[in-house]
């Protein structure tokens, strides 16, 4: 079995990377971070996995089909949060409507958490889709075949 050290290290790092992604995700409204960065870090864990174990193995864990669903779900999560605030009587993305009784705008906090979660999902799955397509694409077409 070749590259044993790399494979063991990757297995060791995989979970902490995802944990870090979740930290960046949920800490985003207090410090640097947020859905975009978290999504990229989350995707990096799987990209590292693909580097060490091959794309086929990674696709067993996260098939392309699941990524499409995650992309759609992420975008909808964001947009429907906005629609939900509309249904609650505020304008689009008027988060205060989520918790109107709050004296310190807690609704803003919940709202941005929900939206950032959507961003995170969408970015992670889009990053991985791009990676899958670049690494998994067929060889270049011959100049003569154009």
């Amino acid at each position: 079995m070749d590259h044993l050290i790399l494979k063991v290290t990757t297995k060791l790092l995989f979970a902490p990377i995802i944990l870090f992604a979740l930290y960046v995700q949920f800490h985003g409204d207090y410090g640097p971070g947020g859905g975009f960065q978290a999504g990229v870090i989350f995707a990096v864990a799987f990209i590292l996995h693909a580097f060490c174990f091959g794309l086929a193995e990674t696709k067993k864990v996260l098939p392309q089909k699941a990524l499409v669903i995650a992309m759609v779900a992420g975008l909808l999560f964001y947009a429907l949060t906005g629609v939900a605030t509309m249904l609650l009587g505020a304008n689009l993305l008027g988060y205060d409507a989520i918790d109107p009784q709050s004296t310190h705008h807690a609704g803003q906090h919940y709202g941005i958490l929900l939206v950032e979660w959507g961003v995170g999902m969408c970015v992670a799955s889009t990053m991985l889709t791009i990676f899958y397509h670049f690494t998994g694409r067929e060889p270049d077409i011959d100049q003569e075949d154009w």
Binding site: V68, A79, N91, L93, G94, D96
Partner: protein
């Protein structure tokens, strides 16, 4: 939730929420059904918005309940309500039209992505139009452009040159967007605000290098997006190699929205005290508009590919819009807005007709059109009627545009340009006439590459196409509808800009 209060945001949120869902629908029919229904609902919202604005005046909508100028504001007045109505209306027709054309030209596996990208593109175009925030314009411009690049590249199944066309467009479009955002950045540096109305207030009396540079960057950036004459090089290839339904959609909407953005920046962000703006009208828009009218139209005469012919003609027609704009009078601005609307009607109909021919003949070379009058008479007459409209024959919208333009040219003291408008219309007569000659007078080839059985396009394509053709005539007779709204919009814009009414 009150639907009226949320009306301004509906044209954006409906296609945006619907777009990702197309990816989950089973192929091949359902993504199209879904996208078409959504486009019609969006159109209904835009029509309602236009009616509301026409009766009650300007509407302002605060996203996230953050008050402008800090928050993003959607600001709908007559000028953008008209463009919203146009873009969503064309979208509704093109989406309904596209099923057979897309099935023939785009990979089956890509159809859900295709309709998703079309909806995202629609969202972007409507967003550019509706927003009252300068940076938000850039964001939506990129949303529409990025999806457009993908849509153009999807023509690669039929012709690999679509890939280079899309890449070319990507490079030019990105340079345009970058210039635009640099311009916005400079204005932000000078004023500390991004809200258009607030920018307008704070730019009054400012005439320094930074504002001048910002202005120049914005004009060049938008010029690239709207295919202003020497910056049009991306357009002919992009329109030629894109799938036909995409060509029809883009030709009728994308450049029109860019013209609207130019108008918005000239009249609602900058003002006539700003010395540069007069120079831009006289030394940039006027000569480039006229150059486009002649050079691009002449180039169209010599094209052997009908889609490319129409694309060059589009560049020429944009010249008319810039010319009207450059007079800087209410009449000129009215003519420009009317032509934005009318040109979308004619080019939409023409590109749809070409899509019908491509479906049956498999080619958009002019040779495929030989004897088309015998093989596809319904399509042929659609081309001829909208071609007449392109020339500016009375009772069509083209005539209305030219009439308003001539009126504006003579009343603003640019009488010579009136003659140039007529002269360039004669060039349009040449290329439309050439197409008509090929279609009506030549015999259809009975064998060889361009021979195909005499069969009309399916009704699902003919009906939306003829709706646009009839719109060409309807709005050519009922001139008070578009002309009236455009005039009121132009008066409001001129009032903000501080020019003589």
């Amino acid at each position: 939730m009150s639907l009226i209060a949320q009306l301004p945001v509906l044209p954006i949120i409906i296609p945006l929420v619907a777009a990702p869902l197309t990816l989950l629908l089973p192929k091949p029919r359902l993504p199209w059904v879904w996208a078409s229904v959504v486009a019609w609902v969006t159109f209904a919202a835009c029509a309602w918005l236009l009616a509301t604005v026409a009766s009650t005046g300007m509407i302002s909508y605060h996203l996230g309940d953050w008050a402008p100028p800090l928050g993003i504001e959607y600001r709908v007045d007559l000028a953008n309500a008209l463009v919203l109505f146009l873009v969503s209306g064309v979208a509704a027709l093109v989406f309904a039209f596209s099923y057979h054309s897309v099935r023939a030209e785009v990979d089956a596996a890509q159809t859900p992505l295709f309709y998703g990208a079309m909806l995202i593109c629609l969202t972007g175009l409507l967003g550019v139009t509706i927003t009252g925030d300068a940076f938000n314009v850039f964001v939506f411009l990129e949303i529409s452009s990025l999806s457009t690049y993908a849509l153009v590249a999807m023509g690669a199944r039929r012709d690999r040159r679509a890939l280079t066309a899309a890449f070319n467009y990507l490079v030019m479009g990105t340079i345009g967007a970058t210039f635009f955002v640099i311009g916005i950045g400079l204005l932000y540096q000078a004023t500390g605000t991004l809200n258009m109305a607030d920018l307008h207030e704070r730019l009054i009396g400012q005439d320094n290098r930074m504002v001048q540079a910002g202005f120049a960057f914005i004009v060049v950036g938008i010029g690239l997006k709207l295919a202003m004459f020497p910056l049009h090089l991306w357009l002919p290839n992009a329109y030629t190699y894109a799938p036909s339904a995409v060509s029809a959609f883009l030709a009728a909407t994308a450049t029109k929205v860019a013209v609207y953005v130019l108008i918005r920046f000239f009249f609602s962000v900058f003002n006539f005290d700003f010395a540069f703006i007069g120079a831009a009208f006289t030394y940039v828009l006027l000569p480039l508009g006229i150059a486009g009218m002649f050079i691009a139209s002449l180039a169209a005469v010599f094209q052997d590919d009908v889609k490319r012919l129409l694309a060059y003609s589009s560049v020429g027609q944009i010249g008319y819009m810039l010319l009207g704009l450059s007079f800087a009078t209410v009449e000129g601005l009215t003519a420009s807005l009317v032509h934005v609307f009318n040109h979308a009607l004619m080019k939409g109909a023409l590109f749809m007709a070409v899509a019908c021919v491509v479906l049956r003949a498999g080619s958009h070379s002019i040779n495929a059109f030989a004897g088309l009058g015998k093989r596809m008479p319904v399509t042929t007459w659609a081309i001829i009627l909208s071609g007449l409209s392109l020339i500016g024959v009375p009772l069509t919208v083209g005539f209305v545009s030219k009439w308003y333009l001539l009126d504006a040219a003579f009343s603003s003291g640019h009488g010579y340009s009136g003659f140039l408008i007529v002269a360039s219309s004669l060039i349009a007569l040449l290329y439309v006439g050439r197409l008509a000659e090929v279609m009506l007078l030549r015999e259809p080839p009975s064998e060889g590459k361009y021979a195909f059985p005499a069969k009309e396009a399916p009704l699902a394509m003919l009906i939306p196409m003829w709706v646009l053709v009839i719109a060409n005539i309807y709005f050519g007779i009922r001139t008070d509808l578009t002309g009236g709204i455009a005039q009121r919009a132009a008066e409001a814009l001129m009032l903000t800009a501080g020019g003589a009414p």
